[in-house]
């Protein structure tokens, strides 16, 4: 299995699949003429600026929270982690809309405190809201890397007299750079491809022109503009230098015992992040709910939301394995991995339309759950590839060599040595995909079978019709399901740890 030919072939197939909708974009955008007056330069600056601000914000929040949830002794650590990751299940347009409704003169919050408030809008507001809904990406990828660290290095640093903060800064963080980078890259890509948040908060980014063109029936120009956006994303991927991955043989976990003051401070910090990302939307929903009353949600909605997301998560992890493994060999593997990332940067509505054309070529495939799942896989592949590649890069090749030397076949070595070492990363990657798929909207709207309604499409419908209160129950359900997903992920990790110890 670790033979290059095998992983190379798998990786190549996945990359070709990712390229197929992009190829459709070329066909759709062929011959389109762009309006010279569309102020592309300004949009480019805005888009890149937003991506940078989002990266800075999500790293500043995500990395400390990753360290806290991975290595600090905290009461209810598992629950903290579950709720801290839950913002990933909140559709960003809901987050943005609740901020729009809560702040500003006459906003809900201003009314509650009886003072006129500033607006959350423009570049700063967009970056803030974007950060609040992307930091979990950094949190999860960083945490997955942290858990692979050898605790003895930390102990050594401490024994040699380094303070805790010095140890974190000089020993721990440099060794999880690739995990941080993977999460930051995802946050950047997300911020560049999401159009709802900038649109609601009034900030002009590249996706806005794409959306205006799409709505003006300029599918060809929307496709061409998406290719421009892909160009920017390709540059970002190039800039992402090859962060070297340190290999560590030992995996002794380390725990940090915090004193009461720093533990309290940490918990206050985590509460603030939660208040901003989940508390405020939940409170706004609550206010609407009181105004209007709720209506029930059918069980079929929950099932329709969960099973395509689970399928997509599973298929994505399987597709990510060869890509991640081949990527650690460098060269062509790294290129194929970068190609597999491109789908994440195509705005959902454009990706959905492109896949619609792919689906229409194959009648049996069109408007089926299979096409919907494929769409999610192609779009969210990097969420799984990143963590798995990092984990794989860190596993000791000597272990595989030893297994082979002892007579194991490549498949057996993969199954008994490599795979168990990859399980935590695969689970966390899969969980990321699961959470993102649940909140995804445009792709689902375009590719689902007719009549398949999910919690997200339900949210969209009630919002569109102005029944804000009715958005509360599906919104809270999304958060609940995602929390369950994170708890399951934690259990998987724990089993892995205890299994490894035995």
């Amino acid at each position: 299995m670790t033979r290059p030919s095998f992983t190379a072939a798998g990786s190549l197939i996945v990359a070709l699949l990712v390229l197929s909708p992009i190829f459709v974009l070329f066909l759709l955008g062929w011959g389109a003429e762009l309006d010279a007056t569309a102020d592309v330069t300004r949009l480019l600056i805005n888009t890149v600026g937003l991506a940078l601000a989002t990266v800075v914000g999500s790293v500043l929040i995500g990395v400390p929270l990753a360290i806290a949830t991975a290595h600090c002794r905290l009461p209810f650590r598992g629950i903290w982690l579950a709720v801290l990751v839950a913002p990933l299940a909140i559709p960003s347009y809901i987050g943005a809309f609740t901020y729009f409704a809560a702040f500003g003169q006459g906003g809900l919050l201003a009314e509650a405190i009886g003072e006129p408030l500033f607006n959350i809008e423009g570049p700063l507001g967009t970056a803030l809201v974007m950060t609040l809904y992307t930091y979990p990406l950094v949190l999860l990828t960083t945490r997955a890397s942290l858990r692979q660290l050898d605790g003895r290095m930390v102990e050594a640093a401490r024994c040699l007299g380094a303070s805790l903060s010095e140890t974190l800064w000089r020993v721990v963080i440099p060794r999880v750079r690739s995990g941080i980078a993977a999460g930051a890259l995802l946050a950047a890509l997300y911020s560049m491809s999401d159009f709802a948040t900038p649109a609601i908060l009034g900030f002009d980014t590249f996706t806005r022109v794409i959306y205006v063109e799409y709505n003006a029936f300029g599918l060809d120009r929307a496709a061409l503009l998406s290719l421009h956006l892909l160009g920017i994303i390709a540059v970002v991927l190039l800039l992402e230098s090859r962060v070297s991955v340190d290999r560590e043989s030992g995996h002794r976990a380390f725990e940090m015992e915090l004193n009461t003051v720093s533990r309290s401070l940490l918990q206050i910090l985590m509460s603030l992040v939660l208040l901003a990302s989940i508390g405020l939307p939940a409170w706004v929903f609550g206010a609407w709910l009181l105004d209007e009353g709720a209506t029930g949600v059918s069980l079929s909605l929950i099932w329709n939301t969960t099973y395509p997301a689970l399928l997509a998560a599973a298929v994505t992890v399987v597709a990510a394995l060869p890509v991640a493994m081949y990527a650690t060999r460098g060269g062509a593997g790294r290129w194929l991995e970068r190609i597999s990332t491109l789908g994440y940067g195509v705005p959902g509505i454009v990706m959905g339309t492109a896949l619609l054309y792919v689906g229409l070529r194959l009648d049996w495939f069109y408007q089926t759950v299979a096409l919907l799942v494929l769409g999610h896989v192609l779009r969210f592949l990097p969420l799984a590839v990143g963590p798995i590649r990092n984990a794989f890069g860190r596993t000791d090749k000597n272990l595989v060599a030893a297994a082979r030397g002892l007579g194991a076949s490549p498949w057996e070595a993969f199954q008994r040595v490599s795979l168990p070492l990859l399980v935590p990363a695969a689970i966390s990657g899969g969980a990321l995909v699961f959470l993102e798929v649940m909140r995804e909207l445009p792709l689902t709207l375009l590719l689902r079978p007719t009549g398949l309604e999910t919690l997200t499409t339900e949210l969209w419908q009630v919002f569109e019709a102005g029944y804000f209160g009715r958005a509360a129950i599906p919104g809270l359900l999304l958060i609940a399901i995602s929390s369950i997903g994170v708890v399951l992920m934690m259990r998987g990790e724990r089993q892995q740890v205890s299994g490894g110890a035995s």
Partner: protein, 350 residues
């Protein structure tokens, strides 16, 4: 009017209809026979079998109520609904047609430009005369059926504008010393500018945009435009008629009025409508249901939509239709948004 009460005003209408019982007391099933008006739903044959409807949403909550009660009346009828934004569904229909794999029987869109695009790309068969004859003569189209209308209006703030001093031509509006509110990225505004291009030409439209630009505040949507006018941020807001009527319904004391120009794009009557993509008796009968007295009365009453057939009462708060003079515009041509976008960008409005 603050943001919260705007939100409340917007949800008041659907919230009332959403109450179980209330929706049926005054819902589309309540029959109000109007002499000489459209037929009652009871006179139509029962619907049977399966029908796939692509529903391009907008005032979606109310359309949903209508579809629910049609389902309830016709237990043997299975309606498979694909909901989505109008443009996305129009693009889907064009793609399906290009590959010869149509899935939808009927497309119901709130947006005439989406319908125009589909009609042009899909070329559905012509509707029969009996169906077309349901509509007033000026709203008859060969390949799609308008369901209800919406007027372009000038929302004005009576505290700063005297209605009698407003010009009745949209083209002389720039001569007035007024501040304006508009939503250039919004589809309804773009349709209005497209209509102006069709009626007055690109140069005049460009000059019009140019001269208003410095005095106009941009908003994300036309709800915000109307709200801005009522708050005194502008004297005149360019918006569809129902935003004003719904705001006034939620808060009758809001300083807001409706003004109409005459015979130009300023009082364009745009329409929602249906395209029958796969002709069948079932599809035809389904569309007939939307043209009944019950459904039309419900749309006018609850959504403030303008009836396009004789004998349905006008929405409350709208002047008598006979007193209004919408321009003659081929609504299908509103799909030609491209030059409008160029113009909006050239003038720096978008």
């Amino acid at each position: 009017m603050d943001r919260r009460s705007l939100l409340r005003a917007l949800v008041t209408v659907p919230a009332v209809c959403a109450l179980p019982g209330a929706s049926y007391a005054q819902g589309p099933e309540a029959s109000e026979a109007v002499a000489g008006g459209p037929v009652s739903v009871t006179s139509l044959p029962k619907l049977k079998g399966k029908l796939t409807l692509y529903l391009g949403r907008g005032e979606g909550g109310l359309y949903e109520k209508i579809l629910e009660s049609i389902q309830r009346r016709n237990p043997d009828f299975e309606l498979r609904i694909r909901r989505g934004p109008s443009t996305a569904l129009a693009n889907t229909l064009v793609a399906e047609s290009r590959f010869g794999k149509p899935r939808a029987d009927v497309f119901w869109s709130i947006d005439a430009s989406s319908l125009g695009l589909v009609v042009e790309a899909v070329e559905p068969p012509a509707l029969d005369d009996e169906l077309i004859a349901l509509l007033k003569p000026e709203y008859r189209y060969e390949r799609w059926l308008p369901i209800s209308g919406r007027f372009r209006t000038l929302a004005y703030n009576p505290n700063s504008v005297n209605l009698s001093e407003l010009p009745d031509s949209i083209m002389t509006l720039p001569d007035e010393d007024l501040r304006f509110g508009w939503a250039p990225a919004y589809g309804a505004f773009q349709s209005f500018v497209t209509a102006m291009r069709l009626l007055e030409g690109d140069d005049a439209t460009g000059a019009w945009l140019e001269s208003l630009k410095a005095r106009s505040k941009s908003y994300a949507g036309e709800l915000n435009v109307v709200m801005g006018t009522s708050q005194g941020e502008s004297d005149i807001g360019f918006a569809n008629h129902y935003y004003t009527l719904r705001l006034l319904q939620g808060r009758p004391d809001t300083p807001l009025g409706l003004a109409f120009t005459r015979g130009d794009a300023g009082c364009l009557l745009n329409a929602s409508g249906t395209v029958i993509l796969k002709p069948s008796t079932r599809a035809r009968d389904f569309v007939r249901h939307l043209m009944t007295n019950e459904v039309q009365g419900y749309l006018a009453r609850e959504a403030f939509e303008v009836p396009l057939l004789e004998g349905v009462p006008n929405p409350k708060g709208l002047p008598p239709l006979a007193s209004l003079q919408p321009p003659r515009v081929d609504l299908e041509k509103l799909a030609d948004v491209r030059p409008t976008l160029s113009l909006l960008r050239q003038t720096g409005v978008l």
